[in-house]
């Protein structure tokens, strides 16, 4: 399957078929999620309407961690099976993950000011998410750091795999240390402690972000495969000119 998809033409054909469907799902989930988030769901009894920030902040945080796990998994596949498409997938996912992490930090800051009275605090949850953002930047930098592409791919993959340590730290930081950030209220052993009317927009927007991630991922994979084709054409053209 992997070898089959490594051909840029085949991948482009598959991507062309899949993109409209994924795009449709993204829009449907997003529009219904926004309707519930901004119109239908109630204000929180303590936080008032600032709770509506949760419907974009929490899905961004979930995506920041999910994309890093995805990136590290494909980096590991690339290192073990040395499959070039695995590295291409990892390289394509990194900027999208970095974008979600940055959005999570900005929206968190905008939520923190009215609720905690400060834009930023150096506590465990916020700091570990900031480290995740720097890890993304590191992986993206390493993908272009050397002249040898294999060296770039391997060094970025190793950093991504080491960076996995940060994911449980982000998840459990609110339990392990004293922090201003609230503890987990959706993904926990005893089940969610949020009312259904608030869980609905949260999950709808999270699903739309997942679809959006795969939509943009397909475009970025196609771009990298096209760049490789372009390099091959330049080499061929150069040889012919000689």
């Amino acid at each position: 399957m992997f070898n089959f998809l490594a051909n840029p033409m085949r991948f482009s054909r598959l991507s062309l078929k899949m993109k409209p469907w994924i795009g449709c799902f993204t829009l449907c989930f997003l529009l219904s999620g926004l309707w519930f988030a901004l119109l239908s769901s109630p204000a929180d009894y303590q936080q008032g309407d600032t709770v509506r920030i949760m419907y974009v902040h929490v899905p961004c945080a979930w995506m920041a961690m999910f994309v890093f796990l995805f990136l590290a998994t494909f980096s590991l596949i690339g290192l073990i099976w040395r499959h070039p498409l695995a590295y291409v997938i990892a390289q394509s996912a990194a900027p999208i993950g970095a974008c979600f992490t940055l959005l999570c930090l900005i929206t968190g800051s905008l939520w923190g000011k009215p609720m905690w009275g400060t834009w930023w605090v150096w506590d465990a949850r916020l700091t570990s998410v900031l480290i995740l953002f720097f890890l993304y930047l590191g992986v993206m930098t390493l993908h272009k750091a050397f002249d040898d592409p294999i060296r770039c791919e391997k060094s970025a993959a190793i950093l991504a795999i080491f960076g996995l340590i940060n994911l449980p730290i982000i998840k459990f930081s609110v339990d392990w240390w004293n922090t201003l950030h609230q503890p987990a209220s959706v993904i926990k052993m005893s089940g969610p402690s949020i009312h259904f009317s608030m869980l609905t927009p949260l999950f709808l927007i999270a699903f739309s972000f997942i679809c959006f991630f795969f939509y943009v991922l397909l475009i970025r994979i196609e771009t990298i495969l096209a760049s490789k084709r372009l390099e091959a054409l330049h080499r061929q053209f150069g040889k012919r000119a000689q």
Binding site: G48, D49, T107, T223
Partner: protein
Amino acid sequence: MPEIFEYFSMGGYGWFVWPCYLVVGAGLIGIWFQSKKSLEKRKEEISALEAKFKD
């Protein structure tokens, strides 16, 4: 009309809620647009080079 102002003020937190949605929207549209433009550019370059090959 007062209901619309009341809705947009979000109980006095509108200055925090709306920028969140705007920033997320701008960020996601931005990365989608940049990715799309980059792919279109590569495809154009490939077509141009292939046409050059044929000549």
